[in-house]
């Protein structure tokens, strides 16, 4: 099994493919029917009006006015500089957050995947940021990154370094948001990888140990390949999630300084609910959808090179 399949898996019992085709289809749909129907009903059909309103001028109250492709033209003709800026900011956030977030999730999961005394408590503590009130996260992170009174700059100062005005400069503010996002989601990534780790057969690890493989070699050649389906899951979901980052930015920087952390959904939200341009916001959502579809498709194609399934 060299090139593992990702969204396509081979069924072990496919000998009677032609004869049992209809029955097999029915059986498959009996399994996936509920979730597919539910998704259609509650997550797909409600999206369809967005496609229509993206071609209108609409404030969400009065009847929408059809304006053809005006909303899309506004985006791509440079009339809305914040469209491009927010897309770039979002891409920077995604690239900064997703890989590091996943690597830290794996590292933590591997670290706590043992029965050492006290590990149960440690695991719970690492999970805490994921469930701590976002308001508290906002207040504390703004303090941690504070220019004059913050923890980070105090630590830097003890090494004689003058720390930056973190939330006052666009670049460092984005870095601060990314670091906080990694911190806030490390528990989420950890427990998903932890579940994945339980699927790694101990026999293989022992076999590798007997073959004289070192710890790192065992990890990279035995454990990691088994984790690839989990990593793939995280990669897909975190990328989609990162493109929709909003709440954390809202509590930490409010999109500032200037447009330094002004991310895509912030723009969409501002257009939709502050300026009441629901039509334009719909068009923004459709463009985001297309971008995410493309990114996910590419990730899925590439995954065939590195994701292993049984």
């Amino acid at each position: 099994m060299t090139a593992a399949q990702t969204l396509r898996v081979r069924d072990p019992a496919t000998a009677d493919q032609r004869r049992g085709g209809r029955r097999r289809n029915l059986r498959g749909w009996m399994f996936i029917g509920p979730v597919v129907l539910g998704t259609l009903l509650f997550n797909v059909i409600p999206v369809l009006p967005t496609l229509v309103t993206s071609f209108t001028d609409w404030d969400g109250l009065a009847a929408p006015k059809f304006t053809g492709t005006a909303n899309y033209k506004e985006m791509f003709s440079g009339q809305d500089p914040l469209f491009g800026k927010s897309l770039i900011n979002t891409a920077i956030y995604t690239i900064g957050y997703v890989p590091v977030g996943i690597i830290i999730g794996i590292a933590l999961a591997v670290l706590v995947n043992n029965r050492l005394r006290g590990m149960a408590v440690i695991r719970a503590l690492i999970f805490l940021p994921y469930v701590t009130s976002l308001v508290a996260v906002g207040v504390v992170s703004r303090w941690v990154f504070s220019d004059q009174y913050g923890v980070i700059n105090a630590v830097l100062a003890s090494f004689g370094i003058t720390g930056p005005h973190w939330l006052g400069e666009p670049g460092s503010a984005m870095a601060a948001v990314i670091v906080t996002a990694i911190w806030a989601n490390m528990g989420f990534n950890m427990i998903i990888v932890l579940a994945g780790l339980q699927g790694v057969p101990e026999t293989l690890i022992e076999a590798a140990t007997l073959d004289g493989a070192g710890r790192f070699s065992r990890f990279f050649h035995v454990t990691l390949p088994f984790l690839t389906p989990t990593i793939f899951l995280l990669l897909i979901l975190q990328t989609i999630g990162s493109f929709q980052v909003f709440a954390l930015v809202l509590v930490m920087t409010g999109g500032g300084p200037g447009d330094g952390t002004y991310v895509y959904i912030y723009h969409l939200w501002y257009e939709a609910f502050s300026l009441r341009r629901m039509g334009y916001a719909s068009a923004l959502a459709i463009v985001l959808f297309v971008v995410l579809l493309a990114v996910t498709w590419i990730q899925n194609r590439l995954s065939k090179r590195w994701v292993f399934y049984q």
Binding site: L61, L167, G168, Y270, F273
Partner: protein
């Protein structure tokens, strides 16, 4: 004792559903149900909804009780209170879009225009002017109606307004040998203010240890107004803020940020003010509860400008959706909530300056341990030397564009982050507003046209009569 242990055992048996059971138990213990079951037959029910924290919601409940007793009981009208969380415009908009709003709805005043032009809310002029059931407007501050009017029409009224003022640290003032003015008539000149800001600021090398001033970007438009400029010119076909005096005045104010006399936008005022490291901060009334007990504070007016007017107050206003079950009853309920009894409750809570003048001036509002000079707030609704303290500001699509370009958007954020030259900020803002004017073919008559087109001005003549 036996029953107690039985209860415990039963709870234990309920296992995972224990919490749910506790919830049910909580219902019977909580005596604050809304619900319509309490309305006697023959009475008219009016639902009232507003966002607000529990303190505010409690105040609304008390206001309702006061209004009920003062006049509503005799009209056989009962207000049913429906508290709403957060300030999420999204939910209220959804409710308006689908006709599920309360009969009397409290909303942000900048939403009124859209709701009116979309034909979602009732025009109130006829009811307000009705001889028998309307308002005696002479008893209310002028802002009661003008502040929230749309193109001169009344679609909402507000029983009170959250006034802004400069909160100042008394100890820092005393240390610097400064005495704060106690009324808008005695407000500092800009030069006195400028000297005070500089005197109050304590620097430590390149860093500021104590800031003299903190303000939000929404002070920019009063500053421009004070400099003699307005937002729109030529029958609303051209954006203002182009005068050299405006640039000077705003630049002077922004220079405090660049020179470290005032913090940049990412630095929060509250921790600084609570730590005694901020001398003056421009804030609304409702932050007072969060100020540390260790800080001795009061409020003072913003400095005088050529036109005097110097505060842009924030208002939430009350509307009657067209879907209201009984608009007349809703109007009478609204009127009762603006009455003396309800206004007294609002005054005692120091929630907002009551629009009912006698209450705003009464001890109920001004006689509190803090601030000592609550009259500074109260005066924000009135005039000084014939000029209004509160700044008029356009609403509607161009008002939205103005707010987006000069106050809320990234352009304003860039300015108060110290990243953008004032001239560039003004130019970008003007360009954006002028583009919007051009795009919409806007002029001073368009607002009324929009209202007429949305069916806002064609409401049937409601026969308002005492019930």
């Amino acid at each position: 004792m036996t029953s107690g242990s039985l209860l415990t055992r039963r709870r234990l048996l309920q296992g995972g559903l224990g919490l749910a059971a506790a919830g049910v138990a909580g219902t019977s213990l909580t005596a604050c149900g809304s619900g319509s079951s309490g309305t006697p037959s023959g009475w008219t029910e009016v639902t009232f909804s507003s966002v607000g924290d529990p303190t505010t919601q409690k105040m609304f409940k008390d206001m309702i009780a006061a209004a009920q007793q003062e006049s509503l009981d005799e009209h056989k009208i009962k207000i049913v209170w429906k508290p709403a969380p957060g300030d999420d415009w999204a939910s209220v908009m959804l409710q308006f879009a689908s006709g599920t709003t309360a009969d009397l709805q409290r909303i942000d005043d900048d939403r009124v225009y859209d709701l009116a032009t979309s034909g979602k809310i009732l025009q109130l002029d006829k009811m307000m002017q009705d001889a028998s059931t309307g308002f005696d407007l002479t008893k209310y501050s002028p802002t009661f109606t003008t502040k929230v009017a749309v193109e001169g029409y009344q679609f909402s009224i507000t029983p009170g307004m959250s006034a802004n003022a400069l909160y100042y640290n008394k100890k820092l003032f005393a240390d610097a040998g400064l005495t704060a003015p106690t009324s808008w008539a005695d407000a500092w000149s800009w030069d006195e203010f400028d000297a005070a800001v500089k005197k109050l600021t304590k620097k430590n090398g390149s860093r500021t240890d104590t800031y003299g001033l903190q303000y939000a970007v929404n002070t920019i438009q009063p500053t421009a107004y004070g400099a003699g400029d307005t937002a729109l010119y030529n029958n609303q076909t051209e954006c203002g803020y182009g005068k050299p005096e405006t640039l000077d005045a705003i630049d002077k104010q922004i220079s405090y940020i660049r020179a470290g006399y005032a913090p940049t936008i990412d630095v929060e005022y509250l921790p600084l003010f609570n730590a005694g490291k901020l001398a003056m901060t421009w804030q609304a009334m409702d932050i007072s509860a969060q100020i540390s007990k260790n800080v001795d504070w009061d409020v003072m007016p913003w400095p005088k400008t050529p036109l005097f007017a110097m505060t842009k107050n924030y208002a939430r206003t009350w509307v009657i959706p067209k879907t209201a079950k009984d608009p007349q009853a809703a109007f009478l309920a609204m009127k009762a909530l603006c009455g003396k009894a309800a206004s007294d409750v609002m005054a005692k809570a120091q929630f907002a300056v009551p629009a009912l003048t006698e209450v705003a001036k009464s001890a109920a509002f001004t006689d509190h341990p803090r601030p000592k000079t609550a009259t500074v707030w109260a005066e924000a609704l009135g005039n000084v030397a014939g000029k209004p303290v509160d700044v008029p500001f356009p609403r509607g699509p161009i008002g939205t564009a103005l707010a987006d370009s000069f106050v809320e958007g990234t352009n304003a954020n860039n300015l108060v982050s110290g990243k953008l030259a004032t001239a560039d900020y003004l130019k970008r803002g003007r360009d954006a507003v002028n583009a919007e004017i051009k795009k919409r073919g806007w002029n001073g008559d368009k607002g009324k046209e929009l209202l007429a087109k949305g069916g806002a001005l064609t409401d049937p003549d409601l026969k308002v009569a005492a019930k």
